[in-house]
């Protein structure tokens, strides 16, 4: 076969997705509304429940998923509590060999992806190989396998390092695993921005659909980093709560006595789908992903810009992209990690971005219940926004007993609140000064 013949062959093989790309681009080029992205499925394995209904019930009841660490002996640590996923059985979602050859974050991710796909009714195996892609992110990747592998290296030498060490530790493998198991051959990678990772994953996956590179994307985050090394490292950073005798009360965003975040783990994954494709197949549309505003603080590796300027720019940017104003925003799911500096800076950011509306808009931090899922946090909180839109209820900020006078907005303290929400914003900020703000909107039936 000549080179020309090869080129022709590949053009032919690519014909179907190219036609799709042209069709989608022509919509945006024609001056009509840009390609819209529907959320048609959600899956979640979290410290506050597995599956949409269990998570929603916890959010509505104000139930904390934080308790004493069971995954290793943390009794010598300054922080001995975390938000663990309990009773997770990977063999419900994958065979034993696969479960043994991937890290915990991937097991959680594959489980959530299967749930999301089932919820959406989408069948990638019956679609074109390029039609469905995956962007599932993780902040830390296979931390427990890195730590285990390093111990093996020290104790027994190079010859006993697992041949699966590399694929178990790297942060992109959840995307690869999900593509293999769920037959999704479209764009495939991870986006890493620490605790903003899954906010960016959802935002970027939506852009993949908008630019015509896929019809649907499986996107979100997966994290499982409650490990001896990472817990110790975060303790040394001074970023975590030491309220060991009161796990359920330890994550208390915007409360005067907050003393740090609580490490969490889990996975939340969504099926994003080109709106017309979703409508044509009669899919249930949970909400619309209106866009992602993405900025950098340009300030410090770990501390937030105390004025919240970078975060405010991300919030303004997404509103501009989504074509909404502060008047349109009905709810903000805060990053709200329960650190003294972070919650204050975010309050200032919300005031800058939303102006006079800031004090009228309900804001809550669901991390008060779920803990901080790091690279999966943005996806869990986007899901909280989606459910708030779909079910006309705002999840509360629990443990808000004595509000910090400098955090003087409406944080929906302690009780869920009925409200119609048409547009919600979800903030995620990561070490490195990464800011992601997602906008989610109601879709008329």
């Amino acid at each position: 076969m000549s080179i020309n013949q090869w080129c022709y062959f590949f053009l032919e093989a690519d014909a179907s997705p190219n036609i799709l790309s042209v069709r989608l681009r022509s919509v945006s080029d024609s001056g009509q509304a840009r390609v819209r992205v529907a959320i048609t499925g959600m899956g979640m394995v979290t410290p506050i429940g597995t599956g949409i209904d269990a998570v929603w019930e916890s959010l509505m009841q104000g139930r904390s998923g934080i308790d004493t660490i069971t995954q290793f002996d943390a009794s010598g640590y300054p922080t001995q509590i975390a938000a663990e996923v309990r009773d997770f059985n990977p063999e419900l979602y994958m065979d034993r060999k696969t479960a043994r050859h991937v890290a915990r974050y991937c097991r959680l991710g594959l489980a959530a992806a299967r749930m999301a796909l089932a919820d959406s009714g989408l069948k990638p195996e019956e679609m074109g190989p390029d039609d469905v892609g995956v962007v599932v992110s993780s902040g830390a990747g296979g931390m427990e396998e890195i730590e285990r592998g390093h111990q093996v290296l020290i104790d027994r030498g190079i010859g006993r390092i697992s041949p699966f060490m590399v694929p178990m530790m790297i942060t992109d493998i959840a995307s690869g695993l999900i593509a293999i198991e769920l037959r999704c051959g479209g764009p495939n990678y991870a986006v890493v921005s620490a605790c903003a990772s899954s906010g960016h994953a959802l935002g970027d996956a939506a852009e993949v659909i908008r630019r015509g590179d896929a019809v649907a994307m499986i996107a979100g985050g997966a994290e499982a980093a409650i490990t001896p090394l990472l817990m110790g490292a975060f303790c040394q950073l001074g970023a975590m709560s030491k309220r060991n005798d009161d796990p359920a009360g330890s994550s208390r965003p915007f409360d005067l006595s907050r003393d740090g975040f609580i490490m969490g783990e889990g996975s939340v994954i969504m099926v994003l789908e080109e709106m017309e494709h979703a409508r044509a197949r009669g899919a249930r549309i949970w909400a619309e992903l209106l866009g992602c505003g993405s900025t950098a603080d340009m300030y410090h590796f770990t501390a937030p810009d105390p004025h919240g300027t970078g975060a405010a720019r991300a919030m303004r940017k997404v509103m501009q992209k989504a074509g909404v104003t502060p008047e349109d925003v009905d709810y903000v799911n805060a990053h709200g990690t329960s650190t003294p500096l972070g919650d204050l800076a975010e309050t200032l950011a919300i005031k800058q971005a939303l102006g006079d509306r800031a004090s009228q808009i309900p804001i809550s931090s669901t991390k008060s219940m779920s803990g901080h899922l790091l690279g999966a946090a943005g996806a869990l909180e986007a899901a909280a926004c989606v459910l708030a839109i779909a079910r006309d209820m705002i999840p509360p900020t629990i443990n808000l007993e004595l509000p910090d006078p400098d955090c003087d907005l409406d944080y929906v303290p302690n009780q869920a609140r009925p409200a119609r929400i048409d547009v919600a914003l979800s903030n995620s900020f990561g070490f490195g000064g990464h800011n992601a703000c997602l906008a989610l909107g109601r879709v008329a039936a």
Binding site: K97, T98, R100, R160, S162, P163, F164
Partner: protein, 93 residues
């Protein structure tokens, strides 16, 4: 071929069933599938990483060392079993 002692006089106390269990656990198959005449790659869907992991487990369990040049001859379960039988001194350590 389920009883290897019928084919080869075993000079050791090696227990084939024990090796079946070990290989089955590593390769994620049923112990009954691990028979002398089956191919690791074709019959048990083992890729090169699986083989390395299996060899590491075999080396630990039987206190043998499989040189790299031997690995390419390990196509079938029987090849591995023959190697273990041929190295009784180390196997019985």
């Amino acid at each position: 071929m389920s009883d290897p002692s019928a084919d080869q006089a075993s000079p050791t106390s090696l227990d084939f069933a024990e090796m079946q269990e070990l290989a089955a656990e590593i390769l994620g198959v049923d112990p009954d599938q691990v028979q002398l005449d089956v191919s690791f790659a074709k019959d048990l869907a083992a890729d090169s990483l699986d083989i390395v992991e299996l060899i590491m487990a075999i080396e630990d369990r039987y206190r043998v060392s499989l040189p790299e040049e031997e690995l390419e001859h390990m196509k079938k379960v029987g090849d591995l079993w023959a190697f273990l039988l041929a190295h009784p001194a180390t196997a019985e350590q």
